[in-house]
Amino acid sequence: MHRFANPARFLRLARLIQPWTAAAMFACFGVGLYLALVASPIDYLQRDTVRIMYIHVPAAWMAMQTYAVIAVASLVSIVWRHPLADVAARAAAPIGVAFTAICLITGSLWGKPTWGTWWVWDARLTSVLVLLFIYMGYMALWSAFDDRQRAARAAAVLALVGAVNLPIIKFSVDWWNTLHQPASILRRGGPTIDPSMLKPLAVMGLAYLFFFITVLLMRMRADLAAQRLEAAAERRVMAQEVPA
């Protein structure tokens, strides 16, 4: 396990793949936006508002996937004390906040013309709002401690506890009556979205995924550099305290 824990090895890998993930992100966003806004049909019932789906649904997927990444990294951090796991979990949190907030805002802008309301307190909408609060609590906990080790430990515990919300979000539409529709993609019997609408959705999903990878790598690199600078500053203080 610790063979991959070497930050220098990670940095070399990150610098190698980051240009490619960034290029893939820009390409997918270009193609995806064209398909979503121009080259896809309207829905028989929702007309043009279906175009909000192409930015809303991938945001919901990635909000949950980012949390899953944080939870797994937190498990690895607690059990195996892998030094990069904390870095990855911490770097992912603001990206998760972005996806969750985008999911909620675009969902609201979609709900008004289709359902007739900006917001309802049904199980799906409420559980995603709870996810946003868990993300914010997670980030607040990281900055509440001066000692990085203790902050990492506390944040990892919170991340694992909060993971119970993920299945609740996914199955809320099956367990309870909700205004939100049931699943269209990951369901028994296959997707219930026409192929002409599934394609832009898939491309936008890839664009969001490559955005996540690219920004995660950038934020991890920044955090590792900040740690190097901090360690150097500490060495300098210690060197000054030693009488010459």
């Binding site: 049909p41 829905d43 059990v79 506890v161 009556n177 529709q181």
Partner: protein, 172 residues
């Protein structure tokens, strides 16, 4: 920090942590499951027509009623303002009256959630309507061809109203 760190007969600290995390996850998951099953009723956003039957909703009690707008049930009452329609879950059905703005997606065969209360005549009087759409997405041409081929799923076949149906003209 833990006894047995040197003792090879005991768990290694790594495995000890893994077991602890597993036990904690089990406890939290169990607690969450219990909590949510207790909340089952309050977490439910609306009552279906069948829930109305089984859960004993009092007249005047404010609830949300959800289901499909039964085919051929939507009509304007003679006052020109009130909309009358039937909400069905294919097993049971409820007659609804509503005055006000109707969402774009409100139509026969589509989902609807009505907020309001039952009158003494067991007709549901709604203050607001929300449209609930299902999980199907398709271009209009595809929808038309499915309908032409007669393969449109009969989601909203009007169920026999379990409650005595109120003739639309009688209310108001």
């Amino acid at each position: 920090m833990m006894p047995g760190q040197k003792n090879s007969g005991n768990l290694k600290p790594k495995h000890q942590r893994l077991v602890l995390v597993g036990l904690a996850a089990l406890a939290i998951g169990g607690a969450a499951a219990l909590g949510f099953s207790a909340l089952q009723d309050t977490m439910t956003y609306f009552y279906s027509p069948s829930d109305v039957q089984t859960k004993g909703v009092e007249p005047g009690q404010s609830i949300r009623l959800g289901g499909l707008v039964a085919a051929n049930s939507v009509q304007r009452l003679p006052d020109g303002l009130t909309l009358a329609f039937t909400v069905t879950d294919t097993a049971n059905a409820v007659d609804v009256r509503y005055k006000g703005l109707v969402p774009d997606l409100f139509k026969e065969g589509s989902g609807v959630i009505a907020e309001g209360r039952f009158g003494p005549d067991r007709v549901f009087v709604a203050d607001s309507l929300l449209a609930k759409h299902d999980e199907n997405y398709m271009p209009p041409e595809v929808a038309d061809s499915i309908k032409r081929a007669g393969e449109w799923k009969p989601a909203a076949t009007p169920a026999q109203p379990a409650l005595p149906a109120t003739p639309a003209s009688r209310s108001n």
